[in-house]
Amino acid sequence: MPQTDTPNYLDPRTLAAIGPIDLRARMIVEGMMTGMHRSPMEGVSVEFAQHRQYTPGDDTRFLDWKVYGKTDKLYLKQYQKETNLDMVVLVDASGSMRYGSTRGTVATGSLRVGSGLSWSKYDHAASLAAAMCHVALRQQDRASVVLFTDEIKAATRLSNSHDHWRTIVNALSSAESFEVSEPPPDASPDVSPNHPPDHPVGRTDLSRMFDQAVARLNRRSLVVLISDLFDDLSAIERGLAMLKFRRHDVIVLQTLDPAELEFPFRSPSRFLGLEAEGGMNLDPQALRSSYLEALRGHLDQVEQIARRFRFDYVLLNTLEPLGPALSHFMARRSAAIGKK
């Protein structure tokens, strides 16, 4: 079967064609499980779950020698894990997260379905959060989702019940109802506030959000921050410092659109801010290098801050598959469980 006929369920362009977040999350998880040859869920539990055929690279400690003796075939024993991990996923639902330049397609044979749908940063973040929560809940970990803009807009409780995943998905789907905030007072005179975007937006205020989030976390948790982090570096640093101080483990997943990373515009256009910054008439080619310089400086600073606190930092491109991010999450989760 040609490779092009097989849908890559982790590809954002595929996921964009799928509407509900829960379906997206399941597809992500299943796709990830199918694609993995070496399981990150190594034998850390005593409850047997299933056998899996050995593949090179697997830990030979988990080979089932009895089966080998009977069938002369190598199988690994896999166990149902026992976890006591609390995972809190902070999802940025601000206006800037609504930006997306990626269009989704699903190739099924010769038929293409859903062409033309956009895949925003929030879509990417929400799908990733849902998938993480799905995996966590399957492992009996407690999971929670917090949606924020300039403040926490919605949050679920920490739970590992089977129906909690539905609550999480509903919360992620409710982000579109967040109201727009007032424009910042220091907007440039050239930035006209008279052209508000057509969509409801919320400003990003990580400092306030971190204050509220930290107040809600009573136990050591694995905090996953999924955001474009378009805020002051001081606020980011302060928030991560608070989490570090409370001994939380943090994974920073900075999500950016490929257009934001490359700034490929050529024609002079009127750029309308999605967080009520107003509009600007700009010649993008003249500003590209300066913009990219400013963006890269910001990204580098964010990564340095994350590394300084020994937090995991991953820059996610919404055009790229979600697998690496999830794998990173799995490895981090395993490490966290190992510490406990």
Partner: protein, 813 residues
Amino acid sequence: MQTLIAQVLAPFVAPALALAGVALVTVPVAIHLLSRWRRKPEPWGAMRFLIQAYRKQKRRMRFEQWLLLLLRCLIVLMLGLALARPMLVGAIGRWLGGLDHQGRVVNIVIDDAMSTRASDGPGVTRFDGLIKKASAVVDSLEAGDRATIWRAGRPAGAVVAGPTADRGVLHAALKGMQPGYSRPDLPAALELISQGADDRQGISDRSVTVLLGDFTRSARYVNQGSDAGSLAGGLSGDLIVSRPLPGHDNIQVLSVKPRRRVVWVDGLTGGQIASEVRVARYSDALGEASASLAVALIDSQGRSLASLRRGVRFLAGQRVAVVGVDLPVDAVLSSMDTQGGEVLTIRAQLESTKGGLICDDQAYASVELRRRLRVAVVDEPGGVFVEDGAGLTAGQWVALALQPRGVGRGGAVEVVSVTTAELNDLSRLKSLDAVILMRPDRLYIPVWEGLAGFAQAGGLVWVFTPANDGSAPWVSPMLEAFDPGWQIGLEPVGVEDLIEDGDGLAGAATVPWGLSSEPLSVEPLERLAADWQALIRPVLIYRRLPLKVLGADAWVSLGHAAQGSEGAGESGGSRMGTLLAHHSVGRGSLMLLSTAVDTRWTNLPTKPLFVPLVHETLRGVLGLRDRPGMVHAVAGDKPALGEAWVGLSGLDRLGVSGDLVEVEQEDLVKQMEWTVGAEGVQLVEPVAVPGVYQSGSDAGPLRLIVDADPKAGDTRQIDEEAFAHWLDGLGDWRWLDDENPGSSLRRGGEVADIGWALLWVLLALVLLETVVARYFSHANAGPGRSLTGRLWRAGLRLRSGEKSAESGRGRAV
């Protein structure tokens, strides 16, 4: 306002394009403004960084925008200005127009006509001044310039073959130039320059023509506007002309002319050569004046055989004086061949004239002295006796008139008696000068044809009407052989006949005819003019052939008889008929006397007019005929020497010694080149130096006389306004700075077309705009936002039909 606009647009060849360029400057501005108003909205999340970049680049972007807008406006403006072809004067214009780097072809035209020989100070001629100016022009040539030198004296020609940048060659050529003796022919020189410019088509050299001359009234081409007009399209480039010099007085020998070119001299008494010298003077103030004239007779060895001095007096207002001079030939007779003749030279020279030109103070003429004029009187054996003619026949009567008794050995005319039968042998015509036919009615047609050939070769055939009462059938073969165009009746008419002839060939006559008393105007008979009225008075014509000749061929016409009333025959002579008719046949002549040598027809043979009429007619007709071996020309002519010169072995300039002229040794011998064609000898080069040139050929005395061109001696000041008008016909021109001739060649006043320079600037602006736009846009791949880049992208879109890469990108959800 309109005046101001007109002044601003004056330097442009196409002002409308310049205006269009200015108007189109608004297009980039309009595009700039429209692009600010109508921009595609682009929702954007990372606005914080965009604002940050914008604040950082704000001033630079504005500078870039204004710079690009300025460049684009300049591009449009420059395109319009370049197409409008502005013409600029001055150093900047020359630099932009590339004139500083473009060589020129400088044509230096020097008028070396005779008038430039005039003195311009002690030991300095006007020609020396022209050479000095030309040297200054050569010295002022700039790098890349090439020059050539032309002479404008007739015949005009190149002094230096082809333009050269070698100043040494040019100076050497100037040093070797000498003024000529001909008149100026500036149109011919300009025509040669124009042809040279045509030959250099494709060479981008610009042309500058410098005319140097004294420009006196000898420049007669000024009054011939067509010459200048014909060159208007061909003479391109700048034209610089030296100012006409002031005029000065000049007196010249206009011509010297013997009354007859061939003079028969009596062996005993000798004779005189009657000559006429015309002296002309050129002065703005024509008061009374006098001059001294020396006329000399010079033999072929250059020896002066006789000389006379005559005073010349000009009355107030008189421009031309005519002086008659009779040169004695006694000194020649002793050395002359008893049978042949000798060609002599008459030279007339003004003495001690002050100022003016010297070279035109003399003129030459040739005259041939001969002892024998051989005339054959053709009659029937025995002839027809003239009634009351003392027993003489008509032929004898005419012979007697040619050789009057008592003159001794017969004088210069030798009469040969020939019968009509003997004339059938045409070889008898050789060595004869004239044939008098007393019985034309006895000649056959071949004889008439032979006589026609004799006349073609230069002989004279004189037909006397025979005294026959019947018709004259001989008239028809005569008219057929010679085709004179005369109207001759075949039946004689007389006083006893009352004839009404509708053609008017003969009028009703009841009394004898006389001869017309109209003043005699025939040049060969001019010696009779003074006594003509007295000589014709007793002449009566009783009978004659009706002969009517029109024009100059009617030498002696009939009139009413003089008896009864004085001057009765003055009117209507030509209508009543012609007594003596003449017609040129080739180099010879046919003559007809319409009455017979018979007292029944006329009393002319018995009257005093008969002898001088016969002699003067013979000598006049034969003496005025151009001798094939004698050619007269003026300096600058290229005369056709004719068949008689075919045996030419060389031409030597006759050196003249004596008390009148100092011999110029270097001019004693002048060898010339010639070619021989179907029409005889043709000189390759025109004769430049006046003088007497003779050939050493055995074919006979061959003599070429060259006078200074009298038209070149008009040294009066030219009408400067008329001259300027003539120059206007050549195109744009300006006066030469006579004080500093070299400065006129400097390029200060040149108008340069900087259209091409602006096109180069336009190209540079387009390239600059492209580079600047790409640099400002920091485009790493594909065409940038420059005009050329946009055009490139537009072309790509048209070809591929693809939509904008940005369309649909960045949509908020």
